[in-house]
Every structure is written in structure tokens, then in C-alpha cells.
Amino acid sequence: MNNPRPLTHVRLASPLKTSLIRTALATATLLASGLVLATPLAYVSNEKDDSLSVIDLDSLEVINTIEVGQRPRGITFNKDYSLLYICASDDDTVQVLDVASNRVVANLPSGEDPEQFALHPDGDRLYISNEDSALVTVVDTHTHEVSGQIDVGVEPEGMGVSPDGKLVVNTSETTSMLHWIDASTNQLIHNTKVDQRPRHVEFSKDGKQLWASAEIGGTVSVIDVASKEEIHKIRFNIRGVHPDKVQPVGVKLTSDGRYAFVALGPANHVAVVDAKTYEVLDYLLVGRRVWHMALTPDEKYLLTTNGISGDVSVVDVARQKVIKSIKVGRYPWGLAIKP
């Protein structure tokens, strides 16, 4: 991986032309000076291909495909990006991929049907949603042992840990609640009812807000973390798309607090939301059934997984335009980016 390709292989698509040349030149310079430059990479889990596609974020092309366990969904890196955790749902395990060798080096005891998870900021604890058994399982990433299990509602899915590491939030899709867990005791401390089928939660960078999508409700709730109460509900309306098909799943917030991006599922659009006024600014047409998203480290691009069309759309964040779609495996689901 990370092989700097010869310049002749770089196809210079128009909007990327200058940046690519610049990167390529930079790469060449650094290589010449003997430094190793890591190209940022995006890892995409392909739910129905049991594989990961690896996208080079300079060329925006798939450079590798890695075979993994059955039905890979949520994926996330450890703190130093040496390991990638993979929810292999149908294998009832979380696989640990060694990023340097692309080999699965361990299986974590995740509980049944792991779907999504979140890594605690301390890097020691992985909070895993067990979709089939209404549990959140806490796994110690060093000892590979289960350090706790917490009862939550039916079909737990979205997981988030507050930036200060004190709170863990899980969403249960059929019970339609946010379950708040005290990270120090593994105790459930509060439940917040939201609209139908909450899929994903995202803390704001300052930890004061929690954004929660409700897929069937068609809304995104902005929750005040201190009071655990909803302070705003965002609704979406796309011309020519029936409201029932507007089904929010993934949410991403830019670190400057300016924008929120919301993936709208079978509406095939990503909503651009002003994160301060909660006003929907635009809808960007992406691939079919868009679910999860990730921002590149410089937050220049937003990547989306489009399950039915089997591709990843690349959104230019500053210009708010979709600039490319990249064919990956069947039913791409999760995304994780390595700087």
C-alpha cells in the first residue's frame, strides 16, 4: 500500500488537476529527500462482498481490495491508525486488521451481530452495538476481553462517545431512543425518545451538542448534551422526492462548527445544513441509498457510501459540489479515513 505511483498514472481530471500536480510534486520532492509520505487513504466496508475497498485520496481511485469477515459494516481506526476495527456482523466478531500488512490479526469478542461501534478517546475501550441482542458490549482493546455489557432497546445501532470521554450514547432503532451511558460506570443514566428508527449519533467538537438522525421519522434531532433534551428538530424537503423517502442516516459535522452534512438514504441526496442556524442550505445529489460519510483529515472532501449504486461519492466541501464517484464493492456501508 501507499506506493507512490509514477506520475504517468495520474489522470488529471479537471477540478483536481492543480491539487494533484501539487501533491505529486510534493510527493516527488519528499521522496527525493528520503522522507516517507503517507498518502491519506479511505477504507470502505462492502457489506455484500465481505471486503474492504481502499481508496487513495490523492488520486481518488481504488488501489486495493482486502478480503475480510462476513457482512462487514462499521469500521474505525485505533488512535495511531495502525489497526482497523471491523464489525464482521455475520461472524459475530469485531476483526482487527493490521493496517501495515492488511492481515486480520485478532478477533474481538464483540457479542452477537456487531453493527456499529465507537472508540473511546482513551483508545482502550470499544463500545459495540449488538444489533440482534439489544446490548452494548464494551471491549478492552488491549486485553481483548469484554469489560461490560449494557442493556439497551431493540436493535441498537448508532454509537458515539463524547469528546471528553465521559458519556457514551447508543441509539436503538426499534425502541427509537438515545441511551446515555456513563463511561466510568457502564451504567445507563438516561434515555431520550426521538423519532422513528434512530440510526446515527454525532457529538459536536465542543461536546455540547449531540446530533441524532431518525431514518423513518425523516428528521435529525439536535440534543443539548447538558440537559439531554432536544433543542431543535431538522426536517428535509427535496423537490420531487416523496417525504417518506427522505431517510436520514449518517451525520458529519465540520470541526469549524459551520456545516453539518446529513446522508438522506434512498432520497440519494446529502443535505448541507448550517450547523449554527440549523437551516438546510442545499441538497447534493450523490449515489443511490447514501448512508455513511467521512471527512478527509483536511476536511476538504466528504466521502459518502452509496449502497445500491455500489460507489462512493466525493463532495468538495468548500464548493459544495459532488466532484467524483468511485466504484467500490457491493453495498458499501462504512467509511474510515487514515491520514
Partner: protein, 422 residues
Amino acid sequence: MTLMDISTAIQRLATTSMLTCKSRLANLAALTITALTTTALTTATTVLLATTSQAAELQTIQIGYLELQQQQSPLLSNVLPDPEDNGLQGARLGRDDNNAGGKFLGLQYQLQESRSYQLDDLKASLQQWQTNGMQAVLVNAPADALQQLSLLAPNLLLFNIGSNSDELRSQTCLNNVLHTLPSRAMLTDALAQWLISKKLKKWLLITGTRPGDKLYADAVRRSAKRFGGKLVAEKDWTFDADLRRSAAAEVPLFTQTKEYDAVIVADEPGDFGEFILYNTWYPRPVVGTQGLTPTGWHRVVEQWGAAQLQNRFDRLAHRWMTDKDYAAWAAMRSIGETLAHQQPYAAAALKDYLLGPDFELAGFKGRKLTYRNWNGQLRQPIPLIHPRALVSQSPQEGYLHPTTELDTLGFDKPESQCRIGS
């Protein structure tokens, strides 16, 4: 077991116990946990979302399940009989799903089950439950039995999970009944939309001898008129030969009519319909009660998170989830969702909320489910399946409606005399 495991186990036990019972064991566990860590108790007491903070205030929600069991008549193709607990297991799963969320709200759902071949037994159960203050009952029974039960308990809310009668959705309007099972008209409309979308416009209709078959055929005729299908020929199946031996000889001649694009079979119990496939005079698709079938639910539905529901059902019942199971589950979940929005468990309040603008149910069919406020029918997409795959789901693309495309299936407000919502 490590110390961590033990303490985790105790903590889980304590939390669960506080929420569900106040047995001595729970108190003991609570004491143990206080000794272990003083914060655990204070944390546990703030767990509940609603006003309830003590186990003693846990509210029990009693819901009834009535089933008029039927002797199955002998059929030619009786290889796969209906499961004996058809519908009942769906209600049980709905109860379990409700309880998984209810424990955070101080609610515990219980299902009272009464099943009999005698309608009188069911009437006695219903009256008893009514006296005991029960508010909602699921009914798995044919239309006439449902009607009698509905009259017997006018102050209870009943959920029809067993009858696909069109009459109950259009003319005979039962004020205290909501229908979670799709009507025949919804099924045939779903099929007709698919046929027309595929440009299969000329149909041969074959109808069996039983009353349900004739009602299904009526629904097909209505759908043909609605969506522009043309019935080029209609035939009644009256043969009593054993088709397992002679289908290849009998059916081609029987289906030698004016040319059609598709054959629609109206054979609800599955008597002869299975033998029409691959034996028709013209090589055309067979659809309806056999072949490509519109149904409320089937094992092959796995999109939109349905795989999880199917897995839960399979673990509970060890068989495939049917349309009646789904209807029962949806009824239970409708009650659960209503109470989760701080509504009281009272028949009138339930009905008002379910027929009102705030109710929505995530039902694993790709869009939210709501009730039609004129006839109490649960709006829902209809899967079109063959036994091993989902072929399509109606409403089909392009069938528009001013309110919701789901109302292109079944009796729309102007087509129904019912006005059960106030």
C-alpha cells in the same frame, strides 16, 4: 470468571431487577451494589425516562390475543401447511419488542392468549378481559367472527390481524377496529400496478370454488378497472381430479383461451393454484394467490433492516414469519409506540393517537407506516414475492397520490363509506 465479570454481572442484575420487579433478590442485589459502589444506586434511580423512579410504580399493560382456530380443509397441494401458531408468535414478538423499550419507560407488556375452535369461548374471554379493564385486543378470526366480537366489546380497541375482507374496509365499518393485515384490494392493487408497469395488461383470471376465492376474484376485477388491466377471459376451477398426476394434461386445455399476458389465480387456501405454473397454454407468468404473490410479509423480505426482525422472529418461533405474524407484530408495536409517547393506555386515547397526525411506525418496509383515518387500515407497502425472492414492492414508481402513494393501494377515502376517525 474475573472480578470484573462478576461485578458487571451484578450491576446488570441490579439494574434489570430495579426496572422489572422488587423481589427480595433485587433488593439483595441492590444492597450488594451499594456496598460495591455508592454511585451505582444513585445512577440507577435516575435511569427512567418517565416519572417512574421506583420499581413499585411499574405499570402492567395487558393486551389480549383472540384466535378462532379453523379446521383446514383438505387441499390438493398440502405440502406446506400453515403454521399452527400463525399470528400468535407475531404478537409475542411484538410484546417482547415493546418490553425491550418499555422497561426504560416503566411499562411492562403482557399478552393474554385465548384460542379456540368455538367463537363462544372467545366471547367469554373477551368479556372477562373487558371486565378486568383491558383496553386493546388482537383478533385473528374471519370477518363475521370479528364483527361479532367487535359488537360485544364496543369500548375496547380491536386490531384485525386475521381478515383481509374488503367489506370491512369499505362498507361494514367497525368503529372500534383497526386493520393491520392488508385487505384483498390492497394485495390485488399491488399486483395490478406491477403487471401494468411490466406492460402485462391482458389477464386470464382463474377462480376457485371457495368463498374467499370469489372475493379475491372480485378484488382482481376492481383492480383491473382501477389500473387499466383487461380480463380477456375468466374461468372457474371446478375440477376434482388429482392434479398432482394430471396437471400437465388438464391445465393446458383449461387455459386455452383468448391470448393473455398473465394468468391470475384466485385460490386462497392453495388448492389447485400451484399446479397452474408451467402448465398454461401460453407460456405466461402466473400471479395472484400462487406464483408471484402480493402479501403483507414473507421471509424473503430482508431489506430496510427487516433481516433483524426476521432473525428475532426465527429465534422466538423457529419458523418463517408470515403476513399474519407481521400484522400481529405491527398491532403490538402500534400500541407500544403510542404509549412511548406518554399516551394513557385507554382504548379511546389509543384510537385517537393511532388515527391522528403524530403516529408513525417503523415497520421494516422502507417507509413509515400510518393508519387511514377513515377505515383504520394500516398503510403499508406490499411486497411481491416468489417463495425464494422478493421480486418487487408496490406501490410501483409513478403511481401518484395527493396524500401518499401508499393510498394507491386499497380503498382510498372516496371509495370507502367508512369514517371511523372523528
